[in-house]
Structure formats: structure tokens, C-alpha cells
């Protein structure tokens, strides 16, 4: 197998692995792609609410930093309880009652609007801890180590996007960025996927998989990012996903079979490439084709 034949012209190519439905195989695919790429890869676990790619990558950790985000802090001496901040806040994170402004920091999206609109200059930023960023390296293949980054949201925190942005913004020199994205189609998924060069939507051939795939397709189309579908556990379920893709002109880039060996490897935290070595070449070829999309676009 040739391992050095992916040579993207763009300096960095970002591939997001998303799904809609949870548990379809995003992490399985993202970690396997990182191994099959054959070029230096940065794998970023953007599913900060439940990061699990590290279980498969088992990196040697080399840095760990605390992350914070700004929330409003009211100077009660200056506050006149005019209510401008509460009125502006789209997230209902501020109320003005009993002559004072009250902040519900856990609802704040850190937009900074309240601080700007306050006519008294009574609002300042207070940094609150939201989680951690961890970096490490996997040396399984010494010639193409995997640079690994993950975010881990602190218990009790509900705002994933600021931490996801931090995971994405760490600079890396590797040519290929693979993002293991959160499930769903709400803010965390959009934050993770936004700005990518290509999205792979992993699904399963079930009515649940299809329902959420349709939502994910709509989302990715809104974001105007080219995408393709990968069907996991392909020989289970029904034909709904395939007919949907056919009638909507959506490329099915790969089908991962439903095999006991794959499930067993997953349960041990072993790679898909180890459980089904025949898939490694297919993954490599798929990656090659996807990265060509950008070159020809």
C-alpha cells in the first residue's frame, strides 16, 4: 500500500466527521481515518461533552490547560437597574429585579453584548472555568504520528461551543485536520463543522439514522460545505438511507460492514483498521478522493 500519495495543494485540509444521530460511528471512522491517512494528521475530538476518541488513540499526553469563557459581572454600585442588558440578552441570562441586575452565568453564551450596551459601564467580563484542553501524540505508526487534541467540558457546564472553538483553534503543522464532531444539528455540531473543507456524515441504515441524516444534510447544505455519506453497520437495517441518498444525489463514499469483529474491537478500544484491515485501503482511497475535491474545486 502506498502511504505517501495524498498530497493536497492546500496547506491544511479540514475534514469534519459528523452524523446527526449519535452512536453511528463518528469516532470509529475519525480515528480509523487518522490511522489510514498515511500523512501527518491532527485529530481533534470536538465532542467536548463526551470526548472518547482518546480511548482509541491512547495518546501520550503532553499538555493540559484549563479553559475559561467570559460571563458578565455587574458592578452593583454603578448599576442603575435600567434593564438594557436584560432586554438585549437573547439567552435570558440576565434579569433585573428588585433594583438590581442578576446574572445566570450558566445560560450566558459569552457574546459580550450586555457589556457593550450598558450605559453605565457597570458590566465587566469575569472568566469562568469551562473545561480543559488536552494535547498528545500517538506513535503507533512512527513515520506518521497522530497529533491529538481534545476538549473536555467541566461537569455542570452546558455551553460547549466556546470550548469547541478552542479545540479547533490550536495551531498545528499537520496537513490534514480530522474533526470528530458532536452529534445532533444544534450549536455544538455547527460550531464544530463550520469552516471545514469537507464533511462526512456517518449514518446507520435505520429509520432513526435516516431521520437525523436528513437534518444533518440540511444543516451542512446551509453551511455550504461539500459532503458525502458513510453508512456504518451497512448490512443491517433497511434500504431507506440508500434510496434517500440516491434520490438526493448524495454520494455514499463508503459502507462499513456489520461485523462482530468490529464491535468486539470497539469494545476493547481497538481501531477499526485493526479489526477490519481490508477497510484501511478503502479509507485511504476515500480520503484521497475527498481531498481531491478541494484541489479541483
Amino acid at each position: 500500500m502506498k502511504t505517501n500519495d495524498i498530497q493536497p495543494k492546500a496547506p491544511i485540509f479540514t475534514l469534519a466527521i459528523a452524523s446527526g444521530k449519535g452512536g453511528t460511528g463518528k469516532t470509529t471512522l475519525a480515528t480509523a481515518l487518522a490511522e489510514a491517512a498515511g500523512i501527518p494528521v491532527t485529530l481533534r475530538d470536538c465532542d467536548v461533552e463526551e470526548p472518547n476518541a482518546h480511548l482509541f488513540i491512547r495518546p501520550q499526553w503532553h499538555c493540559h490547560t484549563e479553559q475559561t469563557r467570559p460571563v458578565p459581572q455587574i458592578d452593583q454600585e454603578r448599576c442603575t437597574a435600567c434593564g438594557a442588558c436584560a432586554e438585549l440578552c437573547q439567552f435570558n441570562a440576565i434579569a433585573v429585579a428588585g433594583g438590581r441586575a442578576m446574572v445566570f452565568a450558566e445560560l450566558c453564551h459569552s457574546c459580550g453584548g450586555c457589556r457593550r450596551i450598558c450605559p453605565e459601564g457597570a458590566i465587566s467580563d469575569k472568566e469562568v472555568a469551562i473545561g480543559t484542553l488536552d494535547c498528545g501524540t500517538q506513535h503507533k505508526n512512527p513515520t506518521t504520528p497522530i497529533n491529538f487534541i481534545q476538549g473536555k467540558l467541566a461537569i455542570g457546564q452546558v455551553m460547549a461551543p466556546p470550548l469547541i472553538r478552542a479545540v479547533k483553534h490550536i495551531k498545528a503543522k499537520e496537513t490534514l485536520n480530522i474533526l470528530d464532531c458532536p452529534p445532533g444539528t444544534s450549536c455544538p455540531m455547527i460550531t464544530a463543522v463550520r469552516g471545514s473543507d469537507f464533511v462526512i456524515l456517518v449514518t446507520e441504515p435505520t429509520p432513526f439514522g435516516l431521520n437525523d441524516l436528513e437534518l444533518a444534510v440540511e444543516t451542512v447544505r446551509q453551511l455550504q460545505i461539500p459532503f458525502a455519506v458513510v453508512i456504518n453497520r451497512a448490512d443491517s437495517g433497511d434500504s431507506g438511507v440508500r434510496s434517500y441518498c440516491r434520490s438526493n444525489n448524495i454520494d455514499i463514499a463508503l459502507e462499513i460492514p456489520w461485523k462482530r469483529e468490529i464491535a468486539e474491537a470497539y469494545s476493547r478500544g481497538d481501531s477499526l483498521c485493526d479489526a477490519a484491515p481490508e477497510l484501511k485501503q478503502q479509507l485511504h482511497t476515500m480520503l484521497q478522493q475527498i481531498m481531491c475535491v478541494k484541489e479541483t474545486a
Binding site: 436584560a86 434579569a95 433585573v96 429585579a97 428588585g98
Partner: protein, 120 residues
Amino acid sequence: MNVAFSATGTDLDSDLDQRFGRAKQFIIVNTDTDAASILENTQNMNAAQGAGIQAAQNVVNAGATAVVTGNCGPKAFQVLQAAGVKIYHTKLSSVGAALKAFLAGELEEASSANAEAHWS
């Protein structure tokens, strides 16, 4: 005094909405004049988050000094309490029955929220 009742409809025969933050609307009764007015809450019914906080803010801004509802969570409770609004929980099914019980002094003022927060 102005008393806000969480309601599913617009008159006293309406069901008392058991939800505070996501109540359909509030019927605000002035117990001195018997006049009633409607405070819309549709926006909070569909809010992604913070419905209780915003509903409490609106009730406070509307000048209510008491709230009668089924359930009230901790954040709404905190806002109402800061504004000095008294909170009464009841399982009575209609706004009319709740108003009668309130006027008869049969409702007990709540000292804490009786529903869990939805966030954190």
C-alpha cells in the same frame, strides 16, 4: 394588589397552567378593582432556554406582586423573590378556583422553588 396567574386560556374559567416559565399566558388580576389583564408568554413558551427567568422578568415588569402557579423552578423563583413578588403553588385546576382560594387566604406562600432547574 396585582396577582399573576399562569393560565392556558384568557378568562377565569381557563385551566391554571401548571408551568410557570412556559405558561401559555398570565392573567393578572387587580384584587382591589377586580380588573383583569392578559400578559402574553408565547415567546417564552418557545424559548430555547431561560423561559422561567424571562417570564419572571415580564411578570415583575407588569407590576404583579404575587404569582399563583403550579410549579416554579429555582431561577424564576430567585428573580421573583428579588423583586419581592410572593409565590403561591397550587394544584387547583382553574384560574377562577385559584383566585377564590387566594382571596380566601387558603394558599400558602412558597418559601422555595418546587421544580428542578433544567440546566446544570
